[in-house]
C-alpha cells in the first residue's frame, strides 16, 4: 500500500467532519434551507480530502459517484419540509423524513464486508468508507455522493428507512397473505422518532450586561470639560413571553430494513476507474410483505419480502460535470471527474413504467 495513502487515511478520520462532507441538500433537511457559507477551515479540510482521491486511484481503489433523487426536487417547499417531515405519511405513505433517512446498501459480491451505503445521513466520518466522502446537489433534479471503494461487482443488498407515525399493529407496506418464494426479508422494528413541531414556548427573556462607560460631551483645548458617566447596566434583548420554537416531539415509528436476497441491480467497477452510477430508491408502499411467513417478537417482526418496486435515478452525466468541484474545495477531484464515465446498472427486474427520476422496476418472488 502506498505510504502516502496510509498517512492521509489517518488524517482524514481526524480532520473530516460532517459539515465538510456535504454541500446543500442534507443540511437543508437538518437545520436550514440555505447553504452555509464555506469558511477557511472547511475549505482546508476538503483540500486534505481532495489529495486522497488520486492517491486512492493509484493504490488500486475506484471512485464511484452515485446519483440519487434530489430532496429539494422532491420537496421544493423547504420550510414546509422541515416542519412537516412526516406529514405526508398518513395521506400518501411517503414523507420527506423517509426520503432523507433512506439508506441503500450496495454490497461487494465477493466480500459482503465491503459495501457502500447511499443516503443523506451516511458519511465517512461516522461510517468509514461505507459512507460518502462528499455529497452535493447538481443543477438538475439529482444529488450526488462520492465513494472510494475496492474494485469489484456491487449488488443491491438492502434498503432501510424509518416509517413515521406507524406502529407494528398497523404494519408496513402492502401486506399480502400468500406465501410464495420470497425475494428477501423485511425487518420491522417498533421505535420512536423525534419530529420537530413549532410550538409557543415560554421564555423568561434574555438580557446582557453592558459595562460602565464614560463619554466626553465637551472638549475644550484638548481637555474634556464635561462628560457623562454611565454605570454598568443590563439591557433586555428579549422580553419574557411565549415565542414560537421548534420542539422535538417523540412519535411512534417503525425502522424498516428490506434485505434483498435475489439479483436485482448491480454495477461493476475496476481498479483505478472513476465512474458515475445511477442510484436506486423505493417508496414504502411498493413493498409486499408476506404475513404468513413472519417471526414475531413483541417489538420486532421479520417477515418475508414478496415483492419490491424500485425507481432508478438516471442522472445526465453533463449535470455532474457542470458542478464546480474545484470551487467547493476539491480541485483534484474536479480534474478526475472531467474524465468520468457513465456505468449503467445491470438490472434484472421487470420494468414497470416511468417515475419522476427514471424507469421503475418491479421484482417479485415465485407464486
Amino acid at each position: 500500500m502506498n505510504p502516502g495513502y496510509i498517512g492521509i487515511l489517518g488524517g482524514l478520520m481526524a480532520a473530516v467532519t460532517g459539515a465538510m462532507l456535504l454541500d446543500v441538500t442534507p443540511a437543508q433537511a437538518q437545520s436550514s434551507c440555505e447553504a452555509a457559507p464555506l469558511d477557511r477551515s472547511i475549505i482546508n479540510a476538503r483540500r486534505k480530502t481532495d489529495r486522497f482521491f488520486p492517491i486512492a486511484l493509484r493504490d488500486g481503489k475506484a471512485i464511484v459517484i452515485m446519483a440519487g433523487p434530489g430532496l429539494a426536487q422532491r420537496y421544493p417547499d423547504c420550510d414546509a419540509m422541515l416542519d412537516e417531515l412526516a406529514d405526508d405519511v398518513t395521506d400518501r405513505g411517503t414523507s420527506a423524513a423517509i426520503a432523507n433517512s433512506m439508506v441503500v446498501e450496495w454490497v461487494n459480491a465477493d466480500d459482503p464486508g465491503k459495501l457502500i451505503m447511499v443516503g443523506n445521513e451516511v458519511f465517512f466520518h461516522s461510517f468509514g468508507f461505507a459512507g460518502a466522502l462528499y455529497s452535493f446537489s447538481g443543477k438538475g433534479a439529482y444529488d450526488y455522493a462520492i465513494y472510494v471503494l475496492d474494485p469489484g461487482v456491487y449488488r443491491l443488498g438492502s434498503i432501510g428507512y424509518p416509517f413515521p407515525r406507524t406502529d407494528l399493529s398497523t404494519g408496513h407496506g402492502t401486506q399480502v397473505a400468500r406465501a410464495g418464494a420470497p425475494i428477501g426479508e423485511a425487518r420491522i422494528v417498533s421505535t420512536n422518532r423525534n419530529e420537530m413541531k413549532v410550538e409557543q414556548v415560554w421564555s423568561n427573556g434574555s438580557s446582557r450586561t453592558v459595562g460602565a462607560s464614560e463619554q466626553c460631551l465637551w472638549w475644550y483645548k484638548g481637555g474634556c470639560t464635561q462628560s457623562v458617566y454611565t454605570p454598568e447596566h443590563k439591557v433586555m434583548d428579549r422580553a419574557p413571553g411565549y415565542y414560537p420554537m421548534r420542539v422535538p416531539t417523540p412519535v411512534p415509528a417503525l425502522d424498516v430494513n428490506l434485505r434483498i436476497d435475489v439479483p436485482v441491480a448491480s454495477f461493476e467497477v475496476a481498479a483505478g476507474e472513476i465512474v458515475m452510477v445511477d442510484g436506486i430508491f423505493t417508496d414504502p408502499i411498493d413493498s409486499e410483505i408476506g404475513l404468513s411467513q413472519c417471526r414475531k417478537g413483541s417489538s420486532m417482526h421479520v417477515c418475508s419480502l414478496q415483492a419490491l418496486g424500485l425507481e432508478r435515478t438516471m442522472a445526465p452525466i453533463e449535470d455532474l460535470k457542470a458542478y464546480d468541484l474545484a470551487r467547493a474545495g476539491f480541485p483534484q477531484l474536479g480534474k478526475l471527474v472531467s474524465n468520468i464515465r457513465y456505468r449503467p446498472l445491470t438490472i434484472t427486474a421487470d420494468e414497470a413504467g416511468r417515475g419522476k427520476f427514471g424507469p421503475r422496476f418491479r421484482i417479485a418472488g415465485g407464486r
Binding site: 446498501e105 459482503p112 465491503k114 459495501l115 461516522s126 461510517f127 422518532r193 425502522d255 413483541s298 420486532m300
Partner: protein
C-alpha cells in the same frame, strides 16, 4: 436468544471498574472487542500462529486456539455491524454479549444505560448495559452475562436483534440504536463450546 435476557447481569457495581481507566480487565476487554470487530492491528493474520484466518463476513472465532488466558470469543460481521460473545477464561471470569456499529451513539466515557433488547421471536426485555467507548470513533453496547453457557444455549440459529435506548433524558430515548442479524449461530456456538471445554470453563 430466548433466555439470553435471564443471563444478563445487573452490574452497576462493575461500572467504576470499567470507567476508571486502564485496568487489566479493561485492557483485556478492549483488545477482545477490537479483535472481534476487526479493528486490532496486532491481530494474527491468516496462517500466522494458531489463530484462524478471519473470514470476510459471518462468524469469526479469533481466539479458539489461543493461549489459556485468552477468553474464548466469537463475533458475527453483518456488513458494517458486529454482534459477538466474549467468554470467560482462566483468571478472567467475566463474559459479555455485545453489539457495535456506526449507529451506536457516541459517548465520551463508558456509562450505564437502560436498553430494550428486542428479537424476532421473544418478548422484549429492558435491562442495563454498558454504553462503551471502544476507540475514538467506535462505540459498543455491552451486556454483562452471568451465565455464559446458558446464553449460548439460548442462541437461535438465525436471529434478528434490535437495541432500543431507554434512557428518558437521552435525545434518542426509545429509538433503535442498533439492528442486526446473524445466521449459522448453532454451528458457531459449537466451536465456542469446544473452546470453553479446553479452558476448563465447561
Amino acid at each position: 436468544m430466548k433466555h439470553l435476557q435471564k443471563c444478563l447481569a445487573v452490574f452497576a457495581v462493575a461500572i467504576p471498574l470499567l470507567a476508571a481507566g486502564p485496568t487489566p480487565g479493561k485492557s483485556d476487554l478492549d483488545r477482545q472487542l477490537a479483535l472481534l470487530a476487526g479493528d486490532d492491528p496486532s491481530a494474527p493474520k491468516a496462517g500466522a500462529g494458531k489463530a484462524e484466518a478471519a473470514p470476510k463476513s459471518g462468524w469469526i472465532h479469533p481466539e479458539l486456539k489461543g493461549a489459556n488466558d485468552v477468553p474464548c470469543a466469537m463475533s458475527y460481521r453483518d456488513g458494517i455491524n458486529t454482534i459477538g460473545y466474549i467468554g470467560p477464561s482462566k483468571g478472567w471470569d467475566e463474559s459479555y454479549f455485545f453489539v457495535t456499529g456506526p449507529s451506536i451513539p457516541r459517548t465520551s466515557k463508558t456509562r450505564s444505560v437502560r436498553v430494550r433488547l428486542a428479537t424476532d421471536g421473544d418478548a422484549d426485555q429492558t435491562v442495563r448495559a454498558f454504553h462503551y467507548m471502544m476507540s475514538s470513533n467506535k462505540w459498543a453496547i455491552l451486556f454483562k452475562l452471568t451465565d455464559f453457557p446458558a446464553a449460548l444455549d439460548a442462541m437461535e440459529d438465525v436471529e434478528d436483534i434490535a437495541i432500543v435506548l431507554m434512557e428518558p433524558d437521552d435525545p434518542q430515548y426509545q429509538q433503535a440504536i442498533f439492528t442486526g442479524r446473524w445466521v449459522g449461530g448453532h454451528a458457531a456456538r459449537e466451536k465456542l463450546r469446544a473452546c470453553l471445554a479446553t479452558t476448563g470453563q465447561r
